[in-house]
């Protein structure tokens, strides 16, 4: 069956995301919150995340570009980013943020910059992966199947 194959592909892809640490259990929780009354919950939240994160990353870049880096501010941004990413289960982003925060406490600019790079990288990876995932989901839905529920 076409749908089953698509579902299988979706499952394997999602499994790989979990396996590689891009997503964690929180993402599954989000999936569970999606039902008939709230069919696009995950997409909405993730889109919100993308928006927020872009903004935060821009802010972070700007903040770290300053001569006198306001670490408090940086820290609060990173804190925000950490919170968002952990809310949707973007594990690697979250972990990168945690590392970032440590360096913020140390007030190590260079380390922070490299962390920022890391975070950006993780973020773009996560974004593309999530977008692929959503594409696969859409395919299944248009073919008439249902989204398999993932568990970590």
């Amino acid at each position: 069956m076409e749908v089953v194959q698509m579902q299988r592909r979706f499952v394997e892809y999602a499994a790989s995301l979990f396996r590689e640490g891009f997503l964690d259990g929180q993402f599954t929780q989000l999936q569970q919150l999606q039902d008939e009354s709230n069919p696009d919950f995950v997409v909405e939240v993730v889109s919100l995340f993308f928006e927020d994160s872009e903004k935060l990353l821009n802010d972070l870049s700007r903040a770290l570009d300053q001569q006198n880096v306001d670490f408090k501010r940086v820290d609060s941004h990173v804190h925000q980013l950490k919170g968002s990413s952990s809310s949707i289960g973007a594990q690697r982003v979250k972990n990168a943020c945690i590392a970032f925060r440590n360096y913020c406490e140390e007030q190590n600019t260079d380390a922070c910059l490299s962390c920022l790079q890391q975070v950006k990288q993780e973020y773009s990876l996560a974004k593309s992966k999530l977008e692929t995932l959503f594409r696969l989901e859409q395919q299944i839905l248009t073919a008439g199947g249902s989204i398999p529920i993932m568990m970590e």
């Binding site: 569970q32 919150l33 909405e44 939240v45 927020d52 968002s84 398999p148």
Partner: protein
Amino acid sequence: MESCDCIDPPWPGDELLMKYQYISDFFIALAYFSIPLELIYFVKKSAVFPYRWVLVQFGAFIVLCGATHLINLWTFGMHSRNVEVVMTTAKVLTAVVSCVTALMLVHIIPDLLSVKTRELFLKNKAAELDREMGLIRTQEETGRHVRMLTHEIRSTLDRHTILKTTLIELGRTLSLEECALWMPTRTGLELQLSYTLRQQNPVGFTIPIQHPVINQVFSSNRAVKISPNCPVARLRPLAGKYMPGEVVAVRVPLLHLSNFQINDWPELSTKRYALMVLMLPSDSARQWHVHELELVEVVADQVAVALSHAAILEESMRARDLLMEQNVALDLARREAETAVRARNDFLAVMNHEMRTPMHAIIALSSLLQETELTPEQRLMVEAILKSSSLLATLINDVLDLSRLEDGSLQLENGTFNLHALFREVLYLIKPIASVKKLFVSSSLAPDLPEFAVGDEKRLMQIMLNVVGNAVKFSNEGNISIFAFIAKSESLRDSRAPDFFPVHSDNHFYLRVQVKDSGAGIDPQDISKLFTKFAQCQSLAARNSGGSGLGLAICKRFVNLMGGHIWIESEGLGKGSTAVFIVKLGIPEYSNESKLPFFPKVSANHCQTNFPGLKVLVMDDNGVSRSVTKGLLVHLGCDVTTVSSADDCLRVVSQEHNVVFLDVCMPGVDGYEVAIRIHEKFTTCRQGPLLVALMGNTDRVTKENYLRVGINGVVLKPVSVDKMRCVLSEVLEHRFLFETC
């Protein structure tokens, strides 16, 4: 003819002759007259006399003869002419009548003679009949004796009494001197003197059975006369000059049920006989009469029958006693077994509860422990504890279930349940183990799968957990996928299940679940052993993962109870395996739907499952997490308002709000302060909403501090649906929540 002229002379010398003639004639006449009188007299007396006419004739003849002689008397002297005339007439008449009579007699005498012959014949016949009657009488006598004997013999069923009575009665009836009975010994090679009439205690002579006389007697069923010198007949020392009486011997067949089993001794005939010897009194010159011999034969037969009856009765009594004993023993055994089963069931019921409670406590606390901050070694230890205790719990459950399944006391508890929710719950429950092994579990339910079904929810859950658990157990990497759909009739008939005949009906459907894993796989040879109790695959992986081997056996029982079938396919070792089961579930009536809760109860925790209309305020500055939390609460049915700052929170919060969730790791915001200020807004804590603080994993703030400022509970982020559910339940119920489940 000269006539005598002397009329009245004096009697001359030859007148003597005349005188004698005269006298003779007189007497002749007299006789001749009296004969007919006699005849007439006697004929009158007799009833039958067919020859009347002859008699008359004869009478006439005699009378006339007499008359002639009478008239002759007058012719001795001088007589007149008239006398002469009368004389002549009489003579003429006499002549005529006598001729006629003579002629008649020719006919009559043969007749009379033949009567005589017939009389003789009848007499002979009468004598014969007399003889026969004598015989019959003797036979009847004999019969009477036999009946009496039989009555005596049959009036008892005791072997000894029978035989003793026989001898006594025979002795009495036939007036015997001695009567003896020889019984075959156990070996069958000898005859032993068992009973005698006169001697009180027979000494126990034995005679070998192979004696010509004995063989002769045994070969015929008649009473046989034997010589008194024969060893069987020499019971008393011979008294010397006396002639011993005749001896008769007869065989008595001993009919026995186990007759024909003694066939490995060739010299023994198939029937065993006893020998009865009867001796007439010596010096009596009595002979054995035929009827006596017959009597003896009949008695021998009767004795045989009586003995066999006694033997059969003994056997049946013995058998009945044995049966009764066995019955009693069986009854006792049955009662003991019932008691044992009841005791076991009671024990199981108690142990069920008693063992599970601490088990659950251990598991619950271990999982709680697992979620706290631990060093890697501690984590390993806790994981080991969790694993072992889960295993133990499973084992306990399995053993308890299996024992109930075995004796058929398990019955399905059917009810309507939410099928989709069941799958979700299975996934939720399998999560800890799968996450430990870094396995990914996914489930896909067919769109036409009904949401509600009628069946035994608990057992179906058990089957699913077992199957999925096995998939997890035997996989060290990869993913596990669960597919569930309604099985159509073609897919139901499977070559692997030749005896599975699904019956379709309107209110049932067949649920088919396939669980595919990418694990160790199973050797095709081992597949058949999978469902047997306690059998384990020999592969290393299986041995390492432990388990009692009961799980699949129980699953199979449950699946069969549910009218379905379960099997496992695998392409070989290392290629993963797929477990498939089909069960029959009912389609519920739609009128029942409204009664059902929308979410299944989580069994371990007594959480309320839905909070309709609960007004909740969420304060969180992070947009993403705010929307996630909101989504969570909306999913649980709450009415959610969100604010992103402390000021907004204080502005918006009102008495209508039941619960307020505060994200206390917002930078620049002091969670304590917010809580205090919220409380200030309400005159008493009771009026205000319940406050729950949301904290991130890395923040370590003592919870007591929060409690002091009136925060009712603390929750660590990230929050799952179930965690949130529990949180709300607990905090609403107890107004207090220390930590989530």
